[in-house]
Symmetry: C2
């Protein structure tokens, strides 16, 4: 269902313009722009991971087109936390203009800087803390602690003369967080009393009833599973989940085991987290992977990546016996992570592979080894009741999540017309406590494939899907440019189509006959002759084999 | 991890040989052969649906190789119930020998015959009922009623002088089934007292704790959802789930609504089910789809296919506004079905599309509109305790399910060495109450793509995956056969690779230079020259664009 696009009018004085560029109708590539008095602030700049109908795509970026000519007006990018879906596109934005300042918490900026280093960019940064206020151009920013599945996450209040917006980033409200850092409901109360004109709120778990259980419930489960394991324990989780790793370290220490970190991103992120004090490593627990292999098997825990079944990650390779550590009977593998929709087949392939090797696989479905990082419906109700925002913009979610979140807001008494179901590119103006939709930009998906950014289009992906479903047939014929007579060929090759190109022997005379007929009627143009070839073999393949491969005909004149 | 294959010895007298051909380590293409005294009986002959790493594949068949030369020895195919994963490959087997008799219940055979009609095969059939015994060659068969998500399912006991095997087919133990037809535990008790030597048991839900709730719980939920719907109601489910459709008809009737069936398979199956008395249509409830559109919107329920997000099915087309029925605000869509792993993205795309159109979408995650058709762990424990089988062969499941089922058997006191974890192709001999693994056949996957059966290989699928991930580049050069000089080209075309073939302008001189160098050193063979082209452009693409497309070089001599 294509959305009708239309341009917004010029921004009026005293008005705050809010435009989500990514993250609405999808889980990922979160990015929203706020404009006031000709100046822009961007909140988050993340990537989206591709689905199976986007083969070969590495990453999907937000579409920077709407700000491409306005980069000099961008005062800063505020990053709410260090997950890829909030920071992953920063390198691609800074490639356009490397001196746009980045604002975020200590851990968030450390993770961004590590990422930018790989892209050879040294950014301008401003580290902020919860409670801090910063004036950035016409925007007064205030940062509020929120609790999420990565430490040091922040919500940001954006005050302008037009009113105040509050963006939660990703958050939940664990009332017993591991690091004691709660989502600051006192600050929410104070902002609510001051008056929140527009509340941009995480929708990821808005259709999950009740409350997300506390992260603290996982430690005892990990401890028990590890204590019962006769041999090695391998734990897989997200490489940025500092608190989950913390619990694994603590559970290992309690069982007299040492922990080796596996996987490049796991090692990099935990090194940063330890240096900055977010990860508290118990004495003498971490051990180098190579040394770990000399320990008795019941004294070791491997902490690895690959909990989503990613084929190149450590856990998949172990399941395929393509890693130095070969799991076997008596070993325990714990997937201490969520199962992101779309990854089910990959994850279950890994679980089956490990089970077949004899390992005992513990995962979310058979033990409480994971809790979500997002606020469920019950928590969101608390937020609405504490903040009493004038207008609500559900963000960070598929459309069904946005709808569910809007309904929660309405249940707390917010008028339906003040809960805004927007899309990426919806332009909204805030003035005098009212939000008006004033435009709809045409925002696309920007595909990264290898080193190419934006070169792959939806048309290419459609070609790829056809190639994947059916393979292709190439037909090359060399014809005499004056007589049109076939000099060489047709040579027919196929890939992904059938075991043996000999199946095409029957159609070659038909192609020759069709070309002879065309030549006899005076057709010489090689493009027209190619079409004759395409039609002839296409019809034959469809009728004979009931298939529709991509057909690539080429008639060469010589 | 490839399995070591080895041939079994010739079958000894007085021994029953059991070989699962499909359904172990996978959910689908169930098929097991039983051989005694040179005669074979086959239980089930189903298809497997492809996963995303098998693009373009329509169906996956069991590998008939091990019985291809033994078809004259096959006494019959016993079909336990009418689901595709148990009957779908029958047409492909009967293509090899159309007069192999089929044995099954009335509904099962009616569904198979409808399917065979499309393949223009009229089978020999024997309709059997629960309680019935039939001597088929050296096998005495006894059929036992089991409860599943399709009516008229049967387990089959196979008695030979070597002992008795009992195959459950798919089943659960709903104690309040809609049609009153229970899984016959009295018969199980009697067989158990007689002595079950080998129990082949459904593992699909063996890792689900507790008990599958009764189907009867769904009716009141459907009734309530329908009663609250201000406009149209669209229910999607499996087209063979007679009892689910029955509940929709009853709930519609209770709300004064009429029901129109949508989708070819839904109409076909329900027509069969009604004719045979399995579906009891309340008076004046069914209405033709075309007439239904003239009814007031609050008097209609559409019953459709597409609950798994299949792109061509009715529900997906509705969500894409590619169907005469265009859902909108006030309409209610109920997905009264499971979510088969791997279909999550497709299903959520449909849910989001419908939500965006304004429809209220009710599904398993937000209301009890589905229960499974398979026995959960608690039910399986009952079976083991009632049957007390000598040996257990978990079937119908991914490897993790087989392991979980074996553990359940062990918990009831069956020795671990008598719970057999087999694979497709594992050959087992039963004699004197003991099962011995005597061989491992090399059983493959047979891919159906269009009208081709077995022509697509794993190598083709690998090609397809490469094509999907990266696209391809074809390079055609015409060279003089004597001098090796380039006459025409290189012509470079790509698909699924980049927007514009102009990206290749840089590499053309490099290819010409490489060919000139090869020609100068005397290379004339067109295959060798093709390799020069492949290496040159391959290296360039990899270095310049960090990608690895399929490269199809062709050097033509003229």
């Amino acid at each position: 269902m294509p959305t009708t696009t239309y341009s917004p009018p010029p921004l009026e004085a005293g008005t705050l313009r809010v435009t989500p560029i990514g993250g609405l109708g999808e889980i990922g590539r979160n990015m929203t722009t706020f404009e006031y008095d000709g100046k822009i602030i961007i909140v988050d700049c993340g990537v989206l991971f591709p689905e199976e109908h986007q083969p070969g795509v590495d990453l999907i970026l937000p579409d920077f087109d709407s700000i491409r000519d306005r980069l000099n007006d961008v005062e800063a990018v505020v990053l709410t936390h260090g997950h890829e879906d909030h920071i992953g596109a920063v390198p691609y934005l800074l490639r356009l203009k490397p001196d746009i300042p980045l604002i975020g918490s200590q851990l968030t900026l450390a993770l961004v800087e590590a990422k930018l280093k790989e892209h050879k960019i040294r950014p301008y940064t401003l580290v902020v803390k919860e409670g801090q206020r910063e004036q950035v151009g016409p925007f007064e920013l205030e940062f509020v602690a929120v609790n999420h599945s990565i430490p040091d996450a922040l919500a940001v209040a954006i005050r302008t003369p037009a009113g105040m917006a509050l963006a939660t980033g990703d958050f939940k409200m664990d009332q017993l967080p591991l690091d004691g850092r709660l989502t600051d409901l006192r600050a929410f109360s104070r902002l609510g009393e001051e008056g929140v004109d527009l509340f941009l709120v995480d929708s990821t778990n808005s259709d999950v009833p009740g409350f997300t259980p506390t992260e603290r419930g996982i430690g005892p489960v990990l401890e028990q599973v590890i204590s019962k394991s006769p041999r090695r324990v391998i734990v897989a989780s997200f490489s940025s989940h500092v608190h989950r790793v913390q619990q694994v370290l603590d559970a290992a220490a309690a069982n007299g085991r040492r922990v080796a970190l596996l996987g490049r991103s796991m090692v990099r992120n935990m090194t940063i987290a330890e240096e900055l004090g977010y990860l508290k490593v118990p004495d003498n627990v971490l051990i180098d992977y190579k040394k770990a292999r000399d320990l008795p098997e019941d004294q070791i825990v491997y902490m690895s990546t690959g909990s989503q079944g990613e084929p190149m990650a450590v856990l998949s390779r172990m399941a395929n016996l393509d890693h130095a550590i070969e799991p076997g009977p008596g070993d325990t593998v714990i997937l201490a992570s969520s199962l992101i929709p779309g990854n089910e087949n990959a994850v279950y392939r890994v679980i089956d592979g490990l089970t077949k090797l004899g390992a005992n696989v513990v995962h979310k479905a058979n033990a409480m080894v994971h809790v979500s990082g997002h606020a469920a419906a019950g928590e969101l109700l608390y937020c609405y009741n504490i903040l009493k925002p004038k207008n609500v913009l559900p963000v960070h979610g598929e459309y069904r999540h946005l709808v569910a979140n809007a309904k929660l807001a309405q249940q707390t008494g917010i008028d339906a017309e003040r809960t805004i179901l927007a899309e990426n590119g919806t332009v909204m103006d805030l003035k005098d406590g009212d939000v008006t939709v004033v435009g709809q930009l045409d925002v696309g998906k920007v595909y990264v494939d290898g080193s190419s950014v934006g070169a792959i289009t939806d048309a290419d992906l459609k070609d790829r899907r056809i190639l994947a479903e059916e393979g292709f047939i190439s037909v090359i014929v060399v014809v005499d440019s004056s007589s049109g007579a076939v000099i060489s060929g047709p040579e027919i090759h196929s890939r992904g189509f059938a075991e043996d190109d000999a199946v095409f022997n029957d159609v070659k005379p038909k192609i020759e006959a069709a070309l002879a007929e065309a030549a006899a009627s005076g057709v010489r143009d090689s493009h027209a002759l190619s079409q004759v070839v395409r039609r002839t073999i296409g019809r034959w393949v469809n009728q004979r084999l009931r298939r529709r491969p991509m057909i690539v005909p080429l008639v060469i004149e010589a």
